[in-house]
């Protein structure tokens, strides 16, 4: 959990993924399209990856990847991110966290 929180606080937009996950690829593309440069951490490449995945499960993230944090706050997985994007909230969150400017 500490490792998750630690990494999540280091950049305005942070996404935890797995290298083989194509849905994670989709979410990354969405962020790039919005002009954000999220920090991407691949759990299968992290030494404490399994531990981190359990922490994400504890946060209620389902599926565990992709797991999105904006301004250090846990936002959710794919469904949450897309829903927030549709109603315009995602963009606003990114602006508030200074991940993007417009």
């Amino acid at each position: 959990m500490d490792r998750i929180r630690d990494l999540a606080s280091k950049k305005a937009a942070v996404i935890f993924t797995k290298s083989s996950c194509c849905m994670c690829y989709s979410i990354k593309q969405l962020f790039y399209e919005l002009g954000a440069s999220p920090a991407v951490h691949e759990l299968d490449k992290e030494a404490r990856g399994r531990e981190m995945e359990l922490a994400l499960i504890g946060l209620g993230c389902n599926p565990t990847v992709p797991a999105v944090f904006i301004g250090g706050v846990f936002v959710g997985s794919t469904t949450d991110v897309i829903s927030l994007h549709v109603d315009g909230s995602l963009k606003q969150m990114l602006i508030n966290a200074k991940a993007i400017w417009f």
């Binding site: 194509c22 469904t79 897309i82």
Partner: protein, 328 residues
């Protein structure tokens, strides 16, 4: 005396064979010995052996006939399956007899097709009710109830699709449950919300500045989400192709067999993620409809739903015309 081999096949009748065998054995033994028990035992053995050979031969012939029957049945089955597929493509609903030899996948697809047809019927009924209310200038209260009902009914098809995708993701992806013209525009097992919104904008006037800006933002957001999901699907295809290509090569050694199995397992895992993409695409459609309703007034939402229905009705009508077109 001529040595008549018991293997000579002169008849297929068991009794006659038996008599022939006995005769042949007696002949080769010479005159029938009335008191020699040894000779009788040899006769018995020889006869048993000959009968065994005969039985084995008949068994082989029966097996061959059975296998030939199986092969021709299998060909017939394939033909029937193709006909069924063709019939379904032409929109002719062919009911399942509940035949247990049908695969689970086949049953799942047909079951969904039936549910979808029922949903569409109910949807059309609600739309007609909405049209009636709009044309008769019904009050906002009444309109809101009907509009909310239509939207809630949309929610139910997304739920049904979700279950169907779990049972048979490829059937949903194929769009075979939609008419041909609708299939032209198929994206991840359904319609593109961004396209729908583009069509609607002209039919929603008058819109306030705020509303116009919100609808444009919504259209852009759904387009961005669609693009993101499409790119994820492309990445999936690429990954799947690479996995399968990796298992190509000389298949002689057992090491390669293990490789093959491992790569098939990986490919299976990747195919499993398709359902997630369908689910996200449907979630996007659902969210877009909900947010559109949130931006618009009740009356505008009513007109939007009618316009959407008109558009899809035309597509379906086009499909019918296409299927009924005269051919050389």
């Amino acid at each position: 005396m001529a040595d008549v081999s018991p293997r000579t096949d002169t008849s297929t009748d068991a009794d006659t064979e038996d008599k022939n065998l006995r005769f042949q054995i007696n002949q080769s033994q010479g005159i029938v010995a009335s008191d020699g028990s040894d000779k009788y035992r040899d006769q018995k053995t020889l006869r048993r052996l000959a009968q065994n050979r005969e039985a084995a031969r008949k068994s082989r012939l029966r097996k061959k006939a059975y296998v030939q029957q199986l092969e021709s049945s299998r060909m017939k089955l394939t033909q029937l399956e193709q006909e069924l597929q063709r019939a379904r493509q032409q929109g002719i609903f062919v009911s399942s007899s509940g035949d247990q030899s049908q695969s689970m996948g086949g049953n799942g697809a047909l079951a969904f097709d039936v549910e979808y047809a029922r949903w569409l019927e109910e949807h059309n009924r609600r739309i007609n009710e909405l049209r009636g209310a709009v044309n008769s200038h019904a009050g906002d209260g009444e309109l809101r109830i009907i509009v909310d009902g239509v939207l809630a009914h949309y929610d139910s098809i997304f739920r049904i699709k979700g279950d169907a995708a779990k049972a048979d993701v490829f059937h949903i992806l194929s769009g075979m449950w939609k008419t041909p013209a609708e299939r032209c525009f198929l994206w991840l097992g359904g319609f593109r919300s961004s396209e729908l919104l583009k069509l609607l904008i002209n039919h929603l006037e008058p819109l306030t500045e705020q509303q116009l800006s919100s609808i444009n933002n919504l259209q852009q957001s759904s387009q961005q989400a669609e693009d993101a999901l499409s790119q994820g699907m492309e990445a999936l295809q690429q990954s799947l192709a690479e996995t399968l290509a990796g298992s190509l090569g000389p298949s002689a050694s057992s090491g390669n067999v293990a490789n093959y199995m491992g790569q098939m397992a990986m490919a299976m895992g990747k195919l499993g993620t398709l359902e997630g993409f369908i689910r996200q695409a449907d979630n996007l459609r659902q969210q877009t409809l909900q947010h559109m309703h949130h931006i618009l007034t009740t009356r505008q939402s009513a007109r939007a739903l009618l316009a959407i229905n008109d558009y899809f009705s035309r597509l379906r009508a086009l499909s019918s015309l296409w299927l009924a077109r005269p051919r050389e």
